[in-house]
């Protein structure tokens, strides 16, 4: 064995094991400190303009092969890189005589970023694009490759600080064996995407970026363990674990239920019509969350009623008589829409998002409900419609009246706001069902920003306070006789699924790749056992204790499911 052998740990976010050479995504080059000031600003200006042109050409070359979604983003990048205003601002920095060439570029771009950030909304979102132009320009000026995910030629394990949506778009299970990030959290984009693709993944793995390029690494995305330069015996142990897991998973099929036959529907989370076709081919009982905002994001104008009707029809057709729960547009604040920008907000997560945006932009909500009604009539599908970010009974009633007015049969609400959970009897008296968005419910219960990786301990789905809030939400469901489901990431955790079933949750919606493990977990335990586990978890002093006590009460096969 070489001296590299060591272990690292992080948070496992997508189960499965993998072994392969490590490829580290180049972090963006930054303008070096101590760079000598330019002595010939005119020559530097020419070099900067040539470099900006090369960056613009790079964007255009990519745009030529890009799909309809990525193309305008890349073309906008080319336009920014070729902007005469930017080149002029860099000239001003060069002429100051105090900065080196890459620092001049950085300073000029940062000025624009500060200006855009102060404008908020759509403009603030463009800052990411502008920084990408800066990073590419600085890298070229330093003679380094442009940042981003390299093309993987052999199957590899990918490591990065975190991956942006544009970077993960090209990953495939054939070449990407596993993903390890040093930042990110269980609800980060990387985690969700990896789970959807069924790629084993670990986040918050401190130290992974210090491992040399090409080193053989093994990872277990269930327990969050990474072995650098694993021995033969260690690789064998992982392979054995994988085999045991496959055997346990292969046991079940069909509807989700506990050992004693109590039903807990197993549903899929989807975002697009393509997701729907893939998910419909699998052993799931329907869709528990169709995130309809994917139809609206990254566009200049709202999709028309006809366009939306076509997409919803496609999704309903894919699922036949299985149920499909659609969440109406969940945008605003941190997911700004160019055509529905309500301006800068100091606290976007607490601002006009979800149904609060829908109430202001009634045209968007009315069009969407009309399109859903059209699709339901055309297919006769089992369509359920719910609103995001409902906080009060009055909001629930207002939404229910709108949905019923267009003739849709089933109306519900997301419970993401603790107020709605605590008053779930009131809220559920107005609607037919509710679905717990546990990611946001955790964020609002713990007052901890989901995007703040440093606070991930507070966002642990095992926080007893969050379990209490879920308990109250289910209690209102039981008293009204209206079902309460879960569509957050916690529904896909096989151990947490037992607790949720015990709390009275009627359905669990998750990435389709997680369904098998959850089905197996439920089938190993009776409802009474699940209820005992839920009570023990709520009686725990903290999240770690809660999970441990539940595992100690569970069937030992559960250890292989993680």
């Amino acid at each position: 064995m070489s001296g590299l052998h060591s272990t690292l740990s992080g948070i496992g976010v997508s189960a499965g094991v993998a072994v392969g050479p490590l490829v580290i995504v180049s972090p963006p080059a930054t303008a070096p400190s101590g760079e000598a000031p330019v002595t010939d600003p005119a020559a530097a200006s020419v070099l900067v303009r040539d470099t900006l042109q090369a960056v613009a050409d790079g964007y255009l070359a990519k745009a030529a092969n890009a799909d309809a979604h990525a193309k305008p983003i890349l073309e906008a990048g080319a336009m920014m890189a070729g902007d005469p205003g930017l080149a002029g601002a860099i000239d001003t920095q060069l002429q100051s005589g105090t900065k080196g060439i890459t620092n001049a570029v950085s300073a000029a771009v940062d000025e624009y970023c500060a200006m855009f950030e102060s404008l908020g909304g759509y403009m603030a979102e463009r800052v990411t694009d502008l920084r990408d132009v800066r990073d590419r320009t600085v890298a070229r000026l330093l003679g380094q490759p442009e940042p981003g995910v390299p093309t993987l030629t052999t199957p590899s394990v990918l490591a990065a600080v975190d991956l942006a949506p544009a970077e993960t778009a090209t990953l495939t299970v054939e070449t990407c064996l596993g993903i390890i990030t040093s930042a990110g959290g269980p609800t980060s984009h990387t985690a969700i995407l990896a789970a959807q693709l069924g790629i084993p993944a670990i986040v918050q793995a401190t130290g992974i970026l210090d491992v040399p390029f090409g080193t053989n690494v093994a990872l277990d995305g269930g327990v969050g363990e990474i072995i650098i330069d694993p021995s033969e015996a260690e690789q064998q142990a992982l392979a054995d674990r994988k085999a045991r897991r496959e055997k346990a998973l292969a046991a079940g099929s069909g509807r989700g239920m506990t050992k004693d036959g109590h039903p807990v529907a197993l549903l899929a989370n989807i975002g697009t019509a393509a997701d729907a076709r893939k998910a419909a081919a699998q052993d799931v009982e329907g869709v528990g969350l169709f995130r309809s905002e994917f139809l609206f994001l990254d566009r200049d104008t709202a999709p028309t009623v006809e366009e939306q009707t076509a997409t919803y029809t496609e999704v309903l057709e894919a699922f036949g008589d299985r149920k499909v729960v659609v969440r109406t547009l969940d945008a605003g604040a941190d997911k700004p829409l160019a055509f529905a920008d309500l301006g800068h907000e100091e606290n976007p997560a607490l601002g006009r998002r979800g149904i609060r945006l829908g109430a202001v932009r009634l045209d968007l909500l009315d069009d969407q409900l009309q399109a859903l009604a059209n699709a339901q009539q055309a297919t006769g599908g089992d369509l359920w419609v719910m609103a995001p970010m409902i906080a009060t009974r009055q909001e629930a009633r207002w939404f229910a009246e709108k949905v019923r007015a267009v003739g849709l049969p089933k109306v519900g609400v997301m419970i993401e706001v603790p107020a709605a959970a605590l008053r779930s009897f009131d809220v559920l008296s107005e609607v037919d069902f509710a679905s717990l968005g546990t990611n946001d419910l955790g964020q609002y219960t713990m007052a901890a920003d989901r995007m703040q990786g440093e606070l991930s301990a507070l966002l642990d789905i095992w926080q007893p306070a969050l379990l209490d809030v879920i308990y109250y939400a289910c209690d209102g469901g039981a008293k009204t006789g209206h079902p309460v489901g879960v569509c957050g990431e916690s529904g896909g955790d096989p151990v947490m699924a037992l607790v949720l079933a015990g709390l009275g949750v009627a359905s669990l919606s998750m990435a389709p790749s997680k369904v098998r493990a959850v089905r197996t977990a439920l089938a190993l335990h009776t409802l009474a056992q699940c209820q005992q586990m839920a009570a023990a978890a709520r009686a725990s002093a903290g999240p770690k204790e809660a999970r441990e006590v539940v595992l100690s009460m569970a069937d030992p096969i559960m250890l292989d499911l993680m």
């Binding site: 906008a76 624009y112 404008l119 055509f339």
Partner: protein
């Protein structure tokens, strides 16, 4: 110097796609065209970053200025462009 005043016709204001269409048209005139909001400093109309940072909203009046041969005709065509709801097209 030729100048024109025009109210922004695009429903989303002068950003995203409408801004990009306007900047391309301003660049195509071959003239140093500027655009300013009432009381604000003029910015280069050929700069997408400058135009977006202006943050001109629907209905807001902006002033276009240009010098050189054909400046009047160039500004007339840009005014006609800004009056339209570029986003809806």
């Amino acid at each position: 110097m030729a100048t024109r005043e025009v109210a922004i016709g695009s429903s989303v204001g002068l950003h995203a796609r409408p801004a990009s269409i306007f900047v391309q048209a301003a660049t195509a005139t071959g003239l140093p065209v500027t655009i300013a909001k009432a009381g604000g400093n003029p910015v280069d109309a050929r700069s997408i970053l400058g135009v977006m940072a202006l943050g001109a909203k629907n209905g807001e009046v902006v002033t276009l200025s240009a010098e050189g041969d054909g400046a009047d005709a160039a500004l007339d065509s840009l005014v006609a462009l800004l009056e339209r709801d570029l986003d809806a097209e």
